[in-house]
Amino acid sequence: QDEALIFELGGWDKTGVDLEPAELDASDLAGLTRTAPIGLPGLSEPETVRHYVRLSQKNHAIDLALYPLGSCTMKHNPRLNEKAARLPGFADLHPLAPVSTTQGALELMDSLAHWLKTLTAMPAVALSPKAGAHGELCGLLTIKAAHEAKGQGHRRTVLVPTSAHGTNPATAAFVGYDVTEIAQTPDGRVDLTDLAAKLSPDVAAIMVTNPNTCGLFERDIIEIAKLTHAAGAYFYCDGANFNAIVGRVRPGDLGVDAMHINLHKTFSTPHGGGGPGAGPVVLSEALAPFAPAPWVVSGHEGFKLVEDCVDEAAQGFGRMVAFQGQMGMFVRAYAYMLSHGSDGLRQVAEDAVLNANYIKARLSGAMSPAFPDGPCMHEALFDDAWLEGTGVTTLDFAKAMIDEGFHPMTMYFPLVVHGAMLIEPTETESKQELDRFCDALLALAEAAKAGDGDRFKGAPYLAPMRRLDETLAARKPKLTWRPEPTTVAPAPLAAE
């Protein structure tokens, strides 16, 4: 059933709030008052609720079924964490309220930092970045500042493997670096020879994801770090996949200098249709002095918030955001950490890896794993070799999964694998659900090989919409609703 847009429901003069309109004395506004209508519709509360509840039912969600988006880590979001984040002491706290009235919040940030540092064996953490890519930005800005402080500001290059998330090269470019790609070995890891060759004195940093986007642990990670450091560069680790090793392996033990942690992946803060996230960055001793403001310090008189780099940390590179970062996510992530504890977090990594390997094992007969030898970590990567000759593409196969009640896996990423299908189940799936998923995929694979092309080319059939025309959308972008020529334009509001 189609749901009308809010602009089509005729509510140009309606409202869903009861405000006593104040009489307007505009003498303090210097003639800046609006005169023309804004063009915003309003709806009564019942209509509003219905509009959004109806819309919501058109979404897939982790609460409905497996959501195996590789590298996106769609796991269960505990409702305890939602409840905690809504305590007035956190939700109704102003970011600039007097510090003496925010001691609990600062304590929580301090405790969260302690957990992150302990889990990574890194001495410092910058909490403020608002998402993973923002954390990458923070990390590279820290590295840049460190180089500049050492008189190494001339270093212009960042090395990035081809398999990297797009955010890695984009961030490096954003900070003004040139990006050079590092080759990959046939078994899906960084090519050490190529790396060594490219580690010139111009290199500021390498950015390596570990476990990498092929779902594999970089076996030579310690060697990579050594080579990098020997070249005078820093090792930035993309921590998007930290969930695979949390509680079991500490990046600090591997020689990492900076790593962002997606709280919305490893520590299960909800994705909310694409955000908000949170991307704290842990830093090595070498980089710690260059961290951005603000940060929390504890002292005799309780917790303090250092908000300006000027006095207390002259080397800090500046500021990533207004205020302190994603406090709402800090509360959720901290609640998740406390719930799991050191033992539970270790189990998280183990079950995530176990689930991925189970899927890989069950599907490998019918589909072609990109790296069949050895275990994968938290996600299983397949290529489209097994679809050859069927006329079915990775995209078609993915859309057919929708008709089986599942969200498709990540497709065509990483770029190093042809027609990639990256499946990440996470640790919060039961064996029953994994089996239901594998059974569905095996049946689909059989259908594809049996030549049942229609089932794929036309898919999805059972979703709220059939396949959408993305080319049309991009050719002549229609990004906002505008009244049809026949629509009566909203009348200016009568002065009441």
Binding site: L19, A61, L69, S339
Partner: protein, 447 residues
Amino acid sequence: MRYLPLTQADRAQMLGVIGVSSVDDLFADVPAAARKAELFDLPRHAGEMEVERHLNSLAAKNRPAGAGPFFCGAGAYKHHIPSTVDHIIQRSEFLTSYTPYQPEIAQGTLQVLFEFQTQVAALTGLEVANASMYDGSTACAEAVLMAKRVTRKNRAVVSGGLHPHYAAVTQTIAHAEGMDIARLDVAIDAEAAVVDAITPDTACVVVQTPNVFGVVTDVTKIAEAAHAAGALLIVVTTEAVSYGLLKSPGEMGADIAVAEGQSIGVPLGFGGPYVGLFACREKFVRQMPGRLCGETVDAEGRRGFVLTLSTREQHIRREKATSNICTNSGLCALAFSIHMTLLGERGLRDLAAVNHAKARQLRDALAAVPGVEVLSPRFFNEFAIRVPGGAASCVEALLADGIVAGVPFSRLDPKAGLDDVLLVAATETTTAEDIAAFAKALQGRTL
């Protein structure tokens, strides 16, 4: 552990299917030296009741804004949020979905984003808006970088009335991209100085209205001067409710409008997550950062929505992307959009009028306190006052009276030499009793 569905029997069976004898075998690629056998030095797991108790105790160590008279603003505002908003954003289908990469099963999120974009475009008076940014400060920095892409020039003129945090974020990021940031002197009515600072190599001019001192400014003349110099005008707003009463950035000639959307639908939350609004003229759309949602049709010709123009984005263009952004602030954008739908044009105008009226009442009450000087000549719901003896110590002193008096400007910018300037804000949540108590306490402290 309550979040982990596998039983020991499941695990054993699955290891058998995989063909390994223990889960350690699956971690074989980890260098032996880094494979930790022991648990890290952190507490073990805890039941829900224990965790909840601990978090309750931390929350209880904070004083929420709603606990008494409260006048902080400076980029984050205490507003009433209808309970419908929180109810809807907690729905599983919104809360626990991912970026809508598969539009066939994400029309809920996508239609919301399309509606959000339209609302933001209408509010800012511009043609297109994106599907949200992290917050207002990062939106501001992104706008400056976008101006560089559009104009291919490198200098940004930043008004001294821009929120110091926004200025710092912009400076940090734009500087890294090699831009030259000319931040003008901090002053209450700082926008007056902007026009003279515009040079031919200026990529953009950044002004804020209402500015960090609450001062509202007609930026039309600044727009004309910027355009004459081939520069873009970026208008920043940190109090989105002001859109209900004041001329929109677009009406005054802005090319890009960015704002902090927290005031509509998003709780204070100690600073985040918030939602950045970002709108611009249509001709610049392909230089915009962030996600965009567009209308299209499905295989049966029905209207639907998709993420579009993603060739601007990092997951397609990698180092050539307009921004490195991946995550947005979708759930906060949803909250903003729901609240805005509840308000409608009528409600937003009423809300803005109430805010302004309360601020005028506050101004009148504080202006009557001997020794206090009101500094902002024109304002919406926030203004600056000079308090004798320093703003920070004034706040500290009034706290003892149960009043959170506002934000000392020195906290935002200790170097500006405005230690006696206090920023005070009033909203619809401010009561006449709050105002009277503030004025009385202030009088008691200044006498």
